[in-house]
Amino acid sequence: MNLMSISLDEVRHVAKLARLELSESELMSFQGKLNALLGHFEDIQAVDVTGRLPKPHAVAMQNVFGQDIPIQPLSRDAALANSADTKAGLFIVPTIIEE
């Protein structure tokens, strides 16, 4: 399987999945960079990983539960203080549903 060649349409699709608005020239630049990187990344396709478990974390841990103790949360004002737009104690998001 040749995984390394990524088309401009695929780059456009990945940018959409990643929620990144990119100009046509940026898309072309990223196509070149992605293909160069993915070309180098081909080396691990040759590694025999038969029967190998994936290692998702540095130190294996399981079932980390916290005590159910109420703590003082951030105040509403503190939580909203960094937002670009707020109203009546709420975050204002760009319009989702048109009138």
């Binding site: 990144l20 691990i44 951030l74």
Partner: protein, 482 residues
């Protein structure tokens, strides 16, 4: 001059009342004000904030409740949250972000009476090898200001190397503490994953990120590691009973210490002069009774690929939170998704966008198994190889960096830049503690000696590092510009 002292020497003077905490903090603030124009190491300096902490430190010193770090200036990489002090991650997308809470390391520093002198420059979201990817300009190496300090914690490394702060903290995801420590001629230590809380560290790759100290000496780095480490219920990956103990720091010996050099970290990738300095350092350790073994850890060859698949995959998920709604500026557009896309597209830098794209691709349908899943399998193999090696060895050693500090803008090939992480990546993959100690000069620039140990061997690692530093027998080398 106060700034020339190590943190432990400063501490002695503070405890002996030869100098006040305010005088020490002011001395470093003055240096930042006059000298940082040459380095661009700091993004935010809040003198009032620092001096208020110095006053608290002085009251601890006066009341006999002071510790080793009381009154000692510490600089923080600007990806650690500080209540009321701007935290940018060197990104335009967090240009105006002022956290409403402190990272756990910040809380611990404040409790210990340290004074936080400022927030340091970094590669945007800690993504970079040379600290040239900051939205606020590159950081300059005090050994040669036309050269890079290494990244991504370049500002924190330069803060200590250029004596703008006595100590500093960085974060290390694939070498971002040890690599700049090596290029700037200071000590940089990445503790075992889980021994320092990540709470309040803006996440890049959560399974790899670890906070750690920079200092002029192993002792300084150890003092800071002791203060910032320990279990934290706010970080679900925090390890129980994990505070790093340093009471026996100076009682180690190199006699009989078994250290291994993997051939994969000693090949043609390493600059010949760097290799020569490293070999002389190894000879020094052998004279002191260390036993050196050469071995092969074949999976190291796949480390760079594995890292550049896993870290961007995690980053593509972690950085999804930056959408212009809850924090950061917002670019308005035709609809809500368009607004997210415009905000992210215009405010993230190129390297961050590239890594988000790589990660999104590696996690996407049809490619997950071939890239992300396989990279995790190779990560497991690499970790196992190291763990097997540790059955016969105390530590694995290598040069920290294949090269000395490169000229700013000198490496344009993106894969060549990423390949510089070769020696540092394995420790992050396995969660191992790892340190870089200055071991000499090549081309009149610093070379770092890296020592990596098994999980939870931090105490032994620091003890051996202290003994190694003594064996190298060199006075701390200040950059000639100072």
């Amino acid at each position: 001059m106060l700034h020339q002292l190590t943190a432990s020497e400063l501490s002695e003077k503070l405890h002996a009342k030869e100098v006040s905490a305010r005088e020490v903090t002011q001395a470093f603030l003055d240096r930042i004000a006059t000298e940082d124009q040459h380095y661009n190491a700091f993004l935010t300096v809040d003198a009032e904030y620092a001096l208020a902490q110095a006053d608290v430190a002085q009251s601890q010193l006066d009341s006999g409740t002071a510790g080793a770090l009381t009154g000692i200036p510490v600089a923080l990489k600007d990806n650690m949250s500080t209540t009321g002090v701007r935290t940018t991650c060197a990104s335009k997308i967090l240009d105006n972000y002022v956290p409403p809470f402190d990272a756990t390391v910040v809380t611990k520093l404040k409790e210990a009476g340290a004074t936080i002198v400022g927030k340091t420059n970094l590669d945007e979201f800690a993504m970079g090898t040379t600290n040239e990817n900051s939205a606020y300009g590159a950081v300059h190496n005090p050994w040669d200001t036309e050269r890079a300090p290494g990244g991504s914690s370049g500002g924190s490394a330069v803060a200590v190397s250029a004596e703008l702060s006595a100590l500093s903290l960085g974060s290390d995801t694939g070498g971002s503490i040890r690599f700049p420590a090596s290029l700037c001629g200071i000590v940089g230590f990445k503790p075992t994953y889980g021994r320092v809380s990540r709470y309040g560290l803006v996440a890049f790759a959560s399974s790899l990120d670890q906070i750690g100290p920079f200092g002029k000496s192993v002792e300084d780095a150890a003092l800071l590691a002791h203060v910032i480490s320990g279990y934290d219920n706010l970080d679900s990956t925090s390890l129980k009973d994990s505070q790093i103990q340093i009471n026996d720091l100076k009682s180690g010996s190199l006699k009989g210490l078994k250290i291994g050099i993997p051939e994969e970290l000693f090949g043609d990738e390493i600059d010949p002069q760097v290799k020569e300095v490293f070999e002389l350092s190894v000879d020094q350790l052998v004279k002191e009774g260390a036993i050196v073994k050469h071995l092969s850890l074949p999976s190291i060859r796949y480390g760079v690929t594995t890292y550049y698949l896993i870290a961007p995959s995690e980053a593509s998920s972690n950085l999804a939170r930056f959408d212009g709604v809850r924090f950061g500026p917002r670019i308005e557009s035709t609809g809500h998704v368009e607004s997210f896309c415009a905000t992210r597209g215009q405010l993230f830098g190129d390297e961050v966008k590239l890594r988000i794209m790589v990660g999104t691709y590696a996690l996407s349908a049809g490619y997950y198994d071939a890239y992300y899943h396989r990279a995790q399998q190779v990560r497991g193999m690499m970790t196992e190889e190291f763990e097997n090696a540790y059955k016969d060895l105390d530590f694995i050693i290598s040069p920290t960096s294949p090269i000395v500090a490169p000229p700013l803008g000198g490496i344009t090939d993106q894969m060549a830049l990423k390949a510089l992480d070769l020696c540092t990546i394995p420790a992050n993959m396995g969660g191992f503690p790892s340190i870089s100690i200055p071991c000499g000069l090549a081309y009149d620039l610093p070379v770092g000696f890296q020592l990596t140990g098994p999980i939870m061997s931090d105490e032994r690692l620091l003890q051996a590092s202290y003994a190694i530093e003594q064996a190298f027998g060199r006075e701390y080398r200040r950059p000639p510009i100072l």
